[in-house]
Symmetry: C2
Subunit: 462 residues, 2 copies
């Protein structure tokens, strides 16, 4: 019987615990959870604030009772404070504030990430009580909810226009608040090319979100007129005031415990693991947003995503009880719904591929989600990146209206990337077709054919 | 300059012509079209009858003018009557009824398929003027439309409950007709397992379509009470009467021209071609519903589908002008919308895999299309078939409500089948996730994990 201790009650930790219990019902699995909300869907929080998800308890992927029914032990409100690698003991502070030790045979660390502050001053002093928020945990959620309910703020500045920032802009708008969205770069959703980010920007405009790009927030302060975000905008100084400020500018890996235990840091400052989730410390595994990401096109990088944490946790859970599973690697697939638009990407963009040593070219295309003669057809906008030397597919970005199956169309590219297909092999794929839902050449193939036509790698005419 | 003649103005022929013109703008391409409706979307005809597609002209993928603008020549209302292989001449009957010869360097035959009559007597005597219809061409479409408009039939019997039969049941229902659907086998949509066909059956029930299974139609006759379909039902004789009868019981390859020219027939009685669409006759290529289908899991079979015809035509068009492209093979991906349900399949089912020499096992699973906490989640029903000896994915079937992205979820499996992935490698795929549109393990992965859990191929617990 393996005594398995796991730090972290989010995606990676719980996936590891579930997999270990599934494969070895004799395994003694203890999960140390810093708060009392294990296995909550952090990605779902914006939909709590839109009002679409009620009550907050339904954000749990599984309840504590569900989890315990699998045979794992949950230690809630228990904070991991140290790892004695040689002695195989985990040191925790229990809910009573007392230090305690948990002996283990194997340890999996899923300590996750922490919200980045991006050097914005004031975030050390100002918090939820002042109307200044981050949103990374259920605790943050309750604090924001309390603030919204009690103060009824009429306006908000959201610093950041990435996935969470955009979703929260939708949520605040749904609550009747006037939202200003600040973005450092030239266009929102900077994980996509600006040509596609511009479509998301239009969608924000259409829903009366004020978008201010090319603006770097440097500080937040309380003023008589409200909370002021100060910064720079194209060389000029910038200031805007609102009743509430939400800072969502990304995350940084939470590495402290493993660093102190002697683990190495790598890409993005995250803990280095191999593809089997070994940290290099004996009997210590790690998974999730605190570790480097093995990427099928980039090698080692740092790309924290919930889907990846689930996969890494599952691998760690299997290996910690004696398995030999390798994490097959991310291809960076991501999707976001912003009001009535869906934007997705997988693989690499032009500049990312160039930086990684590929010889990429990126081609734009548009294709209807289904036959235009059938009601409700809408164009999907694509950008396809392929390698000009060998024709390999490197990445795809797509934006379409909700209902155009963009989220699952990107999966065809993701699967093709996983398999290492060439751009022109996308046309070989036997994709489904019926006029209400597709075309004889699916939109994903129309887009890659546009790339091919431009590069004519496929053709060998007489 | 290649003089390329093409027989057939549907998917295969037009795809070939477009590809040839795309790759070699000097190619002289003549397409011989038996009627005056080249490049019509035959798959869209049911939606003309629902009233969703109007006018019928919008069913054209491209107009004749669009096609001619690419530089091809269309010979409409021109019927190919013979091939002089040695002399490289195509004999046609022109619109004036006169015989004419067209010299060619290369010939591509896309003669398509003909509606099957399944041995039903009366189909030789009774036709549209009697209220008895098939639906395979625009001519059939106009004849049915005329009958519906002039006679206003109140009831219809549809013989067959495959894709077109189901779509036409929806169309007739939308027009206020009472529909009886006859199915030879034990469940509708026999291309899926009956457990999933039953869901489609329920959908038909819910829309007041009378479904009669286990019933073989053997004859159609005119009676004073209307058109009578006679047959056998579980050993008993069967008769039902309606104002209109539509027979949609599949197709058979139209091989006559190529057979007379000396081509060989193979699977399903279709013309044998290699993966480059060579018929074995010098300078004669073929593509589409008249030829055998190269299938990545089955080898040679006969599986006529529009998507496949497009691909085969594109290969033939490329090779006829000097290219060297191979058709990569079908995996049998199909999807149909029936009222508010979508049913899809790819790869092989249990009995098909057994017949092909695999050692399959099929496991059922259900998974929500997106996180249940977000409004509008619906379960998708899956059946996953994998090989028990090596874990290879062999097939997937799925049924879900419209809007659950079933059509593009099947594409993930289709792409995985194309790449030869194992069932447990589906969990390695980096599929997209956002709560309104998916789950951290996408539904397609939940389903394959259910297969894995049952077979535990993936697990190597201590």
């Amino acid at each position: 019987m393996t005594h398995l201790a796991i730090i972290g009650g989010s995606d990676a930790g719980i996936s590891a615990a579930l997999r270990a219990r599934e494969l070895d019902p004799t395994a003694d699995v203890t999960v140390v959870v810093a708060d009392e909300y294990p296995n909550f869907s952090i990605c779902g929080i914006p939909y709590y604030f839109t009002g679409e998800v009620q009550p907050w308890q339904s954000l749990a992927h599984r309840t504590s009772a569900d989890l315990e029914a699998t045979g794992m032990t949950l230690r809630l409100n228990t904070f991991a404070t140290g790892i004695d690698v040689a002695g195989r003991r985990l040191e925790v502070r229990n809910p009573n504030g007392l230090s305690e030790q948990i002996a283990y045979d194997e340890l999996i660390v899923g300590a996750g990430a922490l919200p980045s502050h991006a050097g914005i001053t004031g975030l050390d002093r100002l918090g939820p009580a002042d109307g200044v928020h981050v949103i990374h945990s259920m605790g943050d959620t309750f604090a924001l909810d309390h603030d919204l309910t009690t103060r009824q703020p009429a306006s908000a500045i959201i610093v950041g226009a990435g996935y969470v920032g955009l979703e929260m802009a939708e949520a605040f708008t749904a609550r009747g608040m006037q939202v200003t969205q600040l973005q450092r770069g030239p266009e929102v959703l900077s994980t996509l090319d600006p040509e596609l980010g511009a479509l998301v920007h239009q969608e924000l405009d259409a829903h009366s979100v004020e978008v201010i790009t090319n603006t770097t927030a440097v500080g937040i302060e309380k003023t008589p007129a409200g909370l002021a975000v100060t910064g720079t905008r194209q060389g000029e100084s910038f200031q805007q005031t609102a009743d509430l400020v939400l800072v969502v500018v990304g995350v940084r890996p939470n590495t402290e415990l493993l660093e102190r235990a002697g683990a190495s840091l790598g890409a993005g400052g995250a803990v280095v693991v191999d593809e089997r989730m070994r940290t290099g410390l004996p009997h210590v595994w790690a998974a999730g947003d605190g570790i480097v990401t093995h990427h099928r096109l980039l090698g080692l990088t740092y790309l924290p995503l919930g889907t990846t944490s689930h996969k890494q946790g599952r691998v760690a859970g299997e290996n910690a009880i004696g398995g030999d599973r390798a994490f097959a690697g991310s291809v960076g697939t991501q999707v976001v719904k912003v009001f009535d638009l869906v934007a997705a990407r997988t693989g690499l963009r032009q500049h990312e591929a160039e930086a990684a040593g590929y010889a990429p070219s990126t081609v734009a295309a548009a294709a209807d989600d289904h036959k235009r003669y059938y009601p409700g057809a809408h164009p999907i906008q694509f950008r396809i990146t392929g390698d000009t030397t060998d024709g390999r597919l490197l990445g795809a970005q797509l934006v379409g209206r909700r209902g155009t199956e963009v989220a699952k169309r990107v999966d065809t590219y993701a699967t093709a990337l996983h398999a290492g297909l060439a751009v022109d092999q996308i046309s070989d794929l036997d994709l489904s077709y019926t006029p209400p839902l597709g075309s004889p050449w699916d939109a994903v193939q129309v887009a890659t054919q546009a790339w091919d036509a431009q590069h004519r790698l496929a053709a060998t005419p007489a």
